[in-house]
Symmetry: C2
Subunit: 351 residues, 2 copies
Amino acid sequence: MTQFTGTSDIRTLLRKTGIEPFLVGLAGYIEADFRRWEEFEKAARLASHSRDGVIELMPASDGMLYAMKFVNGHPRNTESGKLTVTAFGVLADVATGYPLLVSEMTILTALRTGATSAVAARALARPNSRVLALIGAGAQSEFQALAFRALLGIEEVRVFDIDPDAVDKFRLNLATSGLRIVRAGSVAEAVRGADIVTTATADKTRAVVLTPDMIAPGMHLNAIGGDCPGKTELHPDIVAGASVFTEYTPQTRIEGEIQQMPEDFAVTELWQVLTGAAAGRRSAGEVTLFDSVGFAIEDFSTLRYVRDLTVVVARDIDLIPELDDPKDLFGLAVPAARRPAAIAVRDLIPG
Amino acid sequence: MTQFTGTSDIRTLLRKTGIEPFLVGLAGYIEADFRRWEEFEKAARLASHSRDGVIELMPASDGMLYAMKFVNGHPRNTESGKLTVTAFGVLADVATGYPLLVSEMTILTALRTGATSAVAARALARPNSRVLALIGAGAQSEFQALAFRALLGIEEVRVFDIDPDAVDKFRLNLATSGLRIVRAGSVAEAVRGADIVTTATADKTRAVVLTPDMIAPGMHLNAIGGDCPGKTELHPDIVAGASVFTEYTPQTRIEGEIQQMPEDFAVTELWQVLTGAAAGRRSAGEVTLFDSVGFAIEDFSTLRYVRDLTVVVARDIDLIPELDDPKDLFGLAVPAARRPAAIAVRDLIPG
C-alpha cells in the first residue's frame, strides 16, 4: 500500500518531535543530498502559468528514489481565505515506479524553505551571527526564525511587515520560543545592525525591498521572496555588489534575483560550497547573498526525511491496485461486469 | 477538502455504473475535449528513465482545470507480481491552484485507453465493422474488447497471445459479455478476416507483431503497444502504406510507430478528424492506422468525468490545510511549538 500523510498527520508529527528538532533533522537531510548533488537527475520545474497564478511540477531523482512536488502560487488566494502557496508531493521507488508516500507539502514546504535558508546561512554568514532581520511576517516567517535559531543560534529577530497584524501574529506565535522579537518601524530600521537579512515578501512584481544604503559590510542576505519571472526583491546594485550563491543556476537565472543581471553574471552553487569544491565567504566584510528560489532536491530530501522518521504515523491509501495476477487488471477492476449495468448511461452524465 | 478516489472507490463506481456505460460516458468526455483541442495547453510528457523503466508526468490544462497524471512503465514488474503500468492523477482548479481530486488511475488509464481507441475507430474504421482482432491479452485487452463492443457494435473478438494463460483469463473475464471470443493459433490467424486490429503487446523492443502480408484492404489498425522510444509493433512498410492518425504529433514522433518513419512523414491528428477539419477514411479499401501512445488530454477528460459523475463516492483527504488566517500557516502547523520538544533530535534520525 502507498502511505499518506495529510496535514493532520504532519501536525501530529511536529507535536511529537518539536519544530526545532524537526528542522535540525531536515537540514541534515537537505545538506546530505546537496553534498551528493551530482548523483541527481535535475530539471527546471515545469510551470503552467494562468491569469492569477502558476501550477508547477518539481521532479528530482537520485536513481533510487524519485520525488515530485505539485505546488501552486496564487497571490490573490488570500483574498478568499486561501493560501498563496499550497503543495503536495509523492516519493516513488525508481526500481518499480510504485509510489511509496503521498504527503501534504504546504507545511513541509515552509519547513524545508526555512531549513534550506539556515543550511545556506550556516555556510555563508559570519560565524557568531546573532541578529536576524526579517522583512515580511507572512506564512514563511516563523519557520525562518526558528530554523535560524536552531541551526545558527540566532538570538534576536528584528521584524517588519507593511501589515501590522502579521507582525502581531508573528510575535504571538514565537512568544515562548526564547527568541527576542523586535518590532521595527521600517525596513531600514529592521536591517540596521543585523547580521543576516531574510526577505520573504509576496508581491508578484519587481519590488525593491532592500536598497544599497541599507546594506552593511559583512551582511548575509537570504532572498527567498523573489522566486518567479518578474518577481524580485533587491535593488540590482545589491545583487551586483554581493557574492551570489544559488541552488540550481539554470532555474535561478529565470526566477531569482539574478534575472536582473546579465546572463554571464558569476554565481556559485551552494552544493559546491558545502562539498568544499568552491569557496563560500572569503572575508568578514564581504556581502553574501543566497538567491533562493526553492529547488526540487529540497523537496526530495523532505519526503525522504518524513518517510525515514520513525515517529511518523502515516495512513495506508489504495492508490495502486494489488492483485494476484498482474495481467488481470480487468478481473480486479470490474468483476461486476458479469452482471447487468445497474443504471442507464444517460443517468451518468450531469446536465 | 480534496477528494480522493482509490482503487476500491473506482471498483465501487464501476459496479454501480457497469463497465460499458462507463466507457460510453468516458468516450463522450474524451471526444468533447478532443473537439476543443486548441483550447488546451499541451506538452510532451516529462519522462525520467531508469534501468528498468520510466516514470512520467503528463500535464494538461484548458485554463479552467489542470490535470496531471503520474505514470510508470516497468516491464519487469510482473516478475515480482507487480503491474507494468500503474498511475495516479490529480485534477486542480486553475483559478486557485488547489487540487480538487486525487485518484487512482491504473484502472482509469486502462479504461481511457480503451475508450480513446474506440473513439478513434468510430471515426476511422469502416462502418459496420463487426470483427476485432486483438493481439495481446494482457491488462488492457478486456477494456479494448468492451469499448469496441459498446461504441462500435463489435460482435466477435479473435484473440492471440504468446501466453495461453492470458487468453484463458481474457475468455473467462468476458464469458458473459455477449461477445463471441475466438482463440487464434497465431497472429496471422487472428488478423485474417478482421475489420479492426488492435496490437497491445508489452515488449520494450522493436517488435514486428504485424507484417505486411497480414494486412487486408480496408482494415483499421489500432496500435497501442508501441508507446515509447525503441518500442514499436508494426513492420515499417505497414506504417508507410497506411493513412496514419495521431494524438499529439510531437509526442508520437518520439514514442509511436512513426518513430520508424522520416521526420516529415505525413500524419493527421485525430482531433482534426473529429472536428471535421481534416478527412478521416477516404475509401473502403484504405488502411487506416491510429498510432496511439496515450496523451494527457485523455487523462484530463477521465478525471473531469469521474469528478462529474453523480454516482461517485469519493472520500475527503486533508491534502491542503484549511485555516482561518492564510498568513498564519505556522499557527496551524505547530501550535505545539510553544511546548518543549517531546523527544531529542538524535531520536529522529534512523541508523
